[in-house]
């Protein structure tokens, strides 16, 4: 069996006395779309930060393509082919859309003209070509999120971790974002690990779903399995409402 | 000998502390470095001097007037300058107050010439205590005690009064303070006034011993930044202790290395401390 593209082994992250991630282990195979879900405060963004180098885990190890990347600086991890977007988007406001993407493209390009070529291609893929000269600071939130993805795309990653890329989008925008994800995965072979709250958006496109709650992994499986998983439902609805829902089911 | 050096260091340091306390309040509240803080001190010293030269007021008598004057300058500075740059990128706020300091300093030079002025005969001049081997100048002692007293008053004000608590609230979160009915606009102005008052006291006390000239505040201001950074911005007692520390470093350094190094030493301490504790010695 081929090694997974990304593997987190027993990652624990503490902030003082607070344990945000407790022995979290999972893997992502090449070519998959894996979703990471869980209630607020479950530790999803924390594990993202541990994997992408923004935090140094308290214990545990992270492997990318078999290489140990635990505690490496984020920029090194990006140059190895694993990158991420941010929950609170960070557009480079003083630059235009195209310039934002150019900044990403320079990682792999050996000249300005080559970077421009890459940027133009990315603009097309992400449907941002018409807005290429708009200042990033004045974009709509949906476009900012799209730009966020476009920018990391320009670094020619093998895998992207998306941190709540669909939060705050309306239905049409969400659908477009979903399509972009599928496109990136199927057409361009990019492995995706997605943190999301918007279930309707990710369940249809995910190969697998991993569920975190209170810093621990509580479930893992296909979308259908997860939706029917008792622990998952309890985690989201809380003990009381879960019990109530069982009562309602029995009566009906 | 060493004891004398240490004592002098503490006495000098206390005044540095008071200057720093004024600065740290503003810094902690608004995240704005008032580069003109040293010039506020200079204004206080000149006020004291002119009241002495023209009206024969003893510096201790003109202290309340100096405090009033500089408090007013503080409020004006806030309303006319700081308010406009409060939301601008950090460099702008820094530059605005730096420009102000440049302006005030040269205005003073234009109006009153660069000549050194002295309050030659005050209630405290030339009086001293001698305890064993120690010589304690009365002006220095009064300055130190006065600085400590003022710091204490400020600390109590912040902790115990309604206004003080409003300042604390605004420092932690402007929006939430406003939601709770605090008039943050007034709080900012008041804090600047208090900041000015601190320096007003320090200036009147310093005028007893030190020459008054346009650049007299500049170095105090510069040292105040170092002290505030060491003490953790917004931390009143932190600023006080750090000020004493700098005073000691100055006298000890002067004693062992030579007085021209005093600022270099202070800055070196700043750089070293921030390497290991980027939030200051007592910072939060």
């Amino acid at each position: 069996m081929p090694k997974p593209m990304l593997e987190a082994k027993n990652v624990t992250m503490k902030f003082g006395n607070l344990t945000a991630n407790n022995n979290v282990s999972f893997f992502v195979d090449k070519g998959e779309i894996v979703s990471l879900i869980g209630p607020n405060g479950a530790g999803k963004t924390t594990i993202f930060n541990c994997i992408s180098g923004f935090y140094k885990p308290f214990s545990g190890r992270v492997y990318f393509e078999g290489k140990d990347i635990t505690g490496l600086s984020p920029y090194k991890i990006t140059s190895m082919g694993l990158t991420r977007t941010f929950q609170i988007v960070k557009p480079l406001k003083e630059m235009t859309v195209k310039e934002n993407i150019l900044t990403g493209a320079f990682l792999r390009a050996s000249s300005r003209s080559e970077a421009e070529k890459i940027a133009d291609e990315i603009l097309k893929i992400t449907h941002l070509s018409e807005k290429k000269d708009v200042l990033a600071g004045s974009l709509t939130i949906a476009d900012k999120k799209r730009l966020e993805i476009a920018r990391v795309l320009a670094t020619k990653p093998k895998m992207i971790m998306l941190d709540e890329a669909m939060a705050g989008l309306n239905q049409t925008e969400t659908k477009e974002a979903m399509e972009l994800c599928l496109n990136l995965n199927k057409q361009h072979g990019i492995t995706l690990l997605i943190v999301e709250h918007v279930m309707e958006a990710i369940m249809p496109i995910s190969n697998r779903v991993i569920v975190l709650n209170a810093g621990e992994k509580i479930a893992e499986g296909s979308p259908e399995e997860i939706v029917n998983n008792e622990e998952v439902i309890k985690a989201y609805l809380g003990e009381r409402y879960h019990a109530k829902s069982k009562q309602i089911n029995r009566r009906v | 000998m060493l004891l004398q050096v240490l004592l002098t260091g503490v006495l000098i340091g206390s005044v540095y502390s008071l200057v720093a306390v004024g600065l740290t309040l503003v810094w902690g509240l608004m995240d704005i470095i008032n580069f003109a803080h040293g010039e506020f001190l200079m204004i206080s010293m000149y006020t004291t001097f002119w009241l002495y030269a023209l009206l024969k007021f003893d510096p201790l008598v003109s202290l309340p007037i100096a405090v009033g004057v500089v408090a007013l300058v503080g409020v004006l500075t806030y309303k006319l300058v700081v308010k406009r740059v409060a939301n601008a990128p950090g460099l702008m706020a820094l530059l605005a107050t730096f420009g102000l300091s440049l302006f005030i300093r040269n205005l003073a030079q234009f109006l009153w010439s660069p000549n050194y002025r002295f309050v030659s005969e005050s209630l405290l001049t030339d009086k001293r205590f001698i305890i064993g081997d120690l010589i304690i100048g009365l002006p220095q002692l009064v300055a130190a005690v006065g600085s400590f007293a003022m710091t204490l008053i400020i600390a109590l004000l912040i902790k115990k009064t309604k206004t003080g608590r409003a300042i604390q609230a605004t420092a932690q979160s402007k929006d939430i303070a406003e939601l709770m009915g605090v008039n943050t606009e007034r709080i900012y102005a008041i804090t600047f006034a208090i900041s000015g008052a601190c320096v007003g006291v320090a200036g009147a006390l310093l005028a007893n011993t030190f020459p008054v000239y346009p650049e007299s505040g500049a170095m105090y201001g510069l040292l105040a930044f170092v002290i505030v950074a060491l003490g953790g911005f917004g931390n009143i007692w932190g600023a006080f202790y750090a000020g004493i520390l700098i005073g000691l470093a100055e006298t000890l350094g002067g004693f062992y290395l030579g007085t021209q190094f005093k600022y270099a030493i202070a800055f070196l301490i700043y750089l070293l401390v921030l390497q290991f504790r980027p939030k200051g010695l007592f910072g939060w």
Binding site: M95 | G99, N106, F225, A264
Partner: protein
């Protein structure tokens, strides 16, 4: 792209001192070139990379002292001294910035001030370089090798212009290159930059090295022009802040900014000193100070910002009247 405007400026600057042969004017032109170049160098670390330095005089002084001491003690040509000074400045800048870059904005700015002050003190107490007394550069006959010219100011002007041209072109090419983009990204968000594979420390250090080396070059020219230096002159806070002021006045982060800022502030400074005699020094600084307060409060983007705004309004008006 907009290089045409730059070439026009170069041409205009080059021609002026030949057109107006007044010696005072030529002096002002030389000071303008020096300070505009200082501003451009400073812009690389502060405007592009976002690390505010209030201590750039340190590098200016290092350049001045390196070439001066080498000439004074060993007869080495100031040209060699100039390059060596640039190298030393670059090394010192790395030693100093490496630990300081982790400091937040305000703290870093004050740290740069602290470093410049410490360096000044070191030179004041260092007998080998004559300490506070300063060094008078031995006067020799007009010589290119010794970078000394006594008859006319034009040769100094030409050297200044060459440096100005070099530095502006360096700044321009950085701006348009990968490094320029990377610095701007770092300035806006370290994290966004890292997620794009950018190593913030590496690029900030690089920017600092280039900025400090270029700054040092100008120190040598200044020393050779004035023929006397002492620590209070060349390591002064006044120089550091003049550089800051003129860049911000003109427009931070913009290649034209320091040129515009210097074009306004340097003549102001030089002529008030001439016309108002002893107290002149106070008045020009008063005006500086007031200007900076006004810029910071009302137009933080400097004069470039003002021009852009008017340009936009005109554009909008044009659109309306031609709809």
């Amino acid at each position: 792209m907009k290089n045409r405007a730059l070439y026009l400026i170069f041409a205009a600057v080059l021609v002026l001192p030949f057109a107006i042969t007044n010696v005072n004017f030529q002096h002002v032109m030389i000071m303008f070139l020096i300070f505009a170049s200082l501003g451009e160098s400073w812009n690389i670390i502060t405007g592009f990379a976002g690390q505010t330095s209030f201590g750039h005089a340190a590098f200016f002084g290092i350049g001045a002292y390196t070439s001066t001491v080498l000439f004074y003690k060993f007869g080495v040509s100031p040209w060699v001294g100039m390059l060596l000074g640039a190298g030393i400045a670059a090394v010192i800048s790395v030693i100093v910035s490496y630990p300081c870059f982790r400091l937040r904005g305000h703290y870093f700015a004050i740290a740069t001030l602290a470093v410049a002050e410490i360096i000044k003190q070191l030179f004041v107490s260092w007998d080998y370089v004559e300490g506070a007394t300063g060094i008078s550069i031995p006067v020799v006959e007009d010589s290119f090798i010794a970078m000394q010219f006594h008859g006319s100011k034009i040769p100094y002007f030409l050297i200044g212009f060459a440096l100005f041209f070099l530095i502006v072109m360096v700044a321009r090419s950085i701006e348009k290159s990968k490094m320029g983009f990377y610095l701007k990204a770092i300035r806006e968000s370290h994290e966004a930059a890292e997620a794009l594979g950018i190593n913030p420390r590496k690029y900030k250090l690089l920017a600092m090295m280039i900025s400090s080396a270029l700054t040092a070059l100008l120190g040598t020219l200044y020393a050779q022009y004035i023929l006397y230096i002492d620590p209070f002159m060349v390591f002064s806070l006044e120089i550091s802040m003049k550089i800051v002021l003129l860049s911000v006045l003109g427009g931070l982060g913009n290649i034209y900014g320091p040129i515009i800022g210097a074009a306004i502030l340097i003549p102001l400074s030089e002529y008030t000193r001439v016309f108002l005699g002893g107290t002149g020094k106070g008045i020009d600084l008063m005006i500086y100070g007031a200007l900076i307060v006004l810029i910071a409060c009302f137009e933080p983007r400097g004069i470039i910002g003002l021009l852009k705004k008017r340009g936009k309004k005109r554009g909008a008006l044009y659109a309306k009247t031609n709809a």
